[in-house]
Assembly symmetry: C3
Homo-oligomer: 333 residues x 3
């Protein structure tokens, strides 16, 4: 892709040579010939051998050799152009050790070694099932979705288009719902529902998304989930939600659109996180609680401002203690 | 199964048609013809097309079309009947890509694709080894136990009857025990013990149960463990213990019978959790501590009542500060 | 190995029969003939049938039948001798179901069933790729390194010599870095860097080490990482660092040499943990923070002494409240 084509793709202004062939992206200070980099707003450009640099609007082109592309958000522009540069579609290849029953419909571009697909399953065009992926019966995987190695999709799971599921993630295992009998023994509540993952969802490695008990577990369009995350039965996550690593969401909790959830957050069951809420890492949401829009922190979660004020109060206890001591002395005098 | 047979199985009273054929369980409000649902105690019945509903004793049968089964615990009754309705035993099938050495004894009903079994291992009747399961040498798996896809059982692991292990779980890896030498280098302490998992244990997906160092790691009968849980070397967990997702138990800790451990709980090593203790989510148990029966909360764990009282005190600091300010003013006057 | 050879290997004094053949290690109280055990400093010896016991220097040999080896650190001596006793090198064996392309260079001793290796990869002598391991393209694995079953190494990952990676661990998946556009949609920032794992590193089961975004993620020599740990993109971990289970390290954070990190610790991005810091379990390090040498605790982390003092203050609020009440009463009188 030539520098001018990149500028056109980004609808951005180019200053410099529009004819340089760009083959890959790189860090600003490690880039070499043929590479494009970006300068983050507010940072110094320093030395760079990049052939092309995406710079903030208003950047002084000065004496830079590189072709410059001006963007209101250079980091975003860089993220948008990167996949264009390496989108070398995987060659259509089905490994002959894969097990694909005749009554499934696999249109995937790539099926790796030791892949297993169950009966009645459908995988769309342009998708990839990497080595060792295990797909149950009646599973739906959309188009251009990449399932990385050793993922397990249980029966009946449905995954949309343009999704990425990283290695070792398990989707559709039984939820952790038990009923205790009179002898203290636990009996599993039926875990026979489904999982629906909408389009453009990305899920990290070794995460777990449990199936609904009787209903469904649903991950909304454009949501991004990190590694080692636990999503329990009947959870409903909206669109464009971000969930960082090692967070756990208990059964039937609802997270509405456009929330940001930090890492190692724990949410009890039947909680409701309203659209636009931001929950800091390691926070804890009690069962049944409603978390309104805003920034939340701590266990149990409280608004960040309150958390900070309270924290300051706690740090002031020693001073308060000394004041009381002094007062007592004076009163006694 | 006919409605009267279900009532008989549950030793419960039936009001209505005992002759309806029930084929599956469903949510009360989504159930259709041929399905059985339940009404939770204290909830309204609303509209339902279920053919049969398990209702609390004392429920007014009124004008409901469905056959009604009366139970002291409808949710439990529903959980108990569900497996009877879908217990279609898997057909006896061994995939020809499985690797089973001649000196192992595999009586399992189902062996999936790309399963590997080590020498000297034994798997009992009615069990399932799903696709991609890797079983080491001298492993014992009991009868009617289901090992889901891509689980790994290291050498010498022993699993009882009627267990369920969900996908991606690793049992018997080396514990995390190191000894530091004079140069600050760490040397692994021998991790050559075993893991014993008793009958009726269920373990979620992507969990880890480490082998004993020199002794054993043991999970007691009827215990239920969720996804992404970490159980370290030499841990001993009693019977009918429930452990929610992402909890971690350090080496040599003992959890006695009938405890309930929330999610994301952390326990230090050599702790002792006495029978009947309930530990809230995200709590932390310090190494070597004894947790008595009762409800515990926070890090380090304290009795829930104490935790609440202290929390209220902390919230009252601001008021206390203002009181001291006022007092100081008056004293100065 | 004879008792005298063991004493010689440990450069330690032997009292008793130097000619006893020792075949394995065992717990002091479970050891039998032919086994070596150790007595921890400060503990009582009790009954033991061990043929040989490593005891602290100064231990009174008294009337013990066992051969005694005197060591300044019996536990370390025991850890050092153990691998000598079971280092029966795995027989050179390549399973015929493994997929190894002709342009890769695999000198491993053992390649299990259903292993997949990508093009251009190199695995050194004495290494083991256990059943179901999936290795991408252009991966480097050193000598005498053991990769346990069902691990996944993405393209370009580099692992040193004498490493152990336990089952189900995923190395080199894309980091969790996104850029939000004006419509609130997230676009992945390019995650095309590498992972470098140096020599003598051990990683537990079901952990995740993400690749660098544009740069590298690096784990230093001799570092030990437990199960279910999350290491994000561009993290740099020094030498001889210990990280316990379920800890998560966010992007670009640096942990210098000789740190000890407890379990379930969370670290924000771009933090810096200075050499020699010890961070207690469940602690939280805020993004961008520097953690100096010393012992740290809580969220956000504070020096352990401060944490304890503050905790004591919080516990004293009730008393303070009562003092203020009393003072107010007296002032009003």
């Amino acid at each position: 892709m030539k520098t001018q084509e990149i500028a056109d793709f980004l609808s951005a202004e180019l200053v410099g040579d529009g004819n340089i062939e760009i083959s890959s992206v790189a860090d600003l200070h490690k880039a070499a010939a043929g590479q494009i980099a970006f300068l983050e707003k507010g940072k110094e450009i320093g030395d760079s051998d990049a052939a092309c640099i995406i710079v903030p609007i208003g950047f002084d082109p000065g004496a830079h050799d590189a072709a410059l592309i001006f963007s209101a958000n250079p980091k975003l522009a860089f993220a948008l152009i990167a996949p264009k540069l390496f989108s070398k579609e995987s060659p259509r290849f089905w490994h002959d050790t894969s097990h694909i029953p005749t009554n499934s419909e696999i249109r995937a571009n790539f099926v790796g070694a030791f892949v297993v697909v169950g009966e009645g399953s459908l995988v769309g065009e342009g998708s990839e099932l990497n080595d060792g992926v295990k797909i149950g019966k009646n599973v739906r995987v959309g188009t251009s979705t990449v399932i990385h190695s050793n993922c397990v999709l249980y029966d009946g799971v449905s995954i949309g288009n343009n999704c990425v599921i990283h290695a070792g993630t398990v989707i559709g295992a039984a939820g952790f719902g038990y009923v205790k009998d009179g002898n203290g023994e636990y009996h599993i509540f039926p875990q026979i529902g489904i999982v629906v993952i909408e389009d453009n969802v990305e899920i990290g490695a070794n995460s777990c998304i449990d199936r609904g008990a009787l209903g469904e577990t649903r991950i909304g369009e454009g949501t991004k989930i990190d590694n080692l995350v636990q999503i329990a039965q009947n959870v409903r996550i909206g669109k464009r939600v971000v969930i960082a690593a090692q967070t756990g969401i208990s059964g039937s909790t609802v997270i509405e659109d456009d929330c940001v959830i930090g890492g190692q957050v724990g949410m009890g069951d039947h909680a409701l996180v309203k659209s636009g809420a931001i929950i800091g890492s390691q926070a804890g949401v009690l069962p049944g609680k409603t978390v309104r829009p805003g920034v939340w922190w701590g266990t149990p979660v409280q608004p960040l401002d309150e958390y900070k004020r309270q924290n300051a109060h706690v740090k002031g206890i020693e001073r308060l203690k000394n004041q009381v001591k002094e007062l007592t002395k004076r009163t006694e005098e």
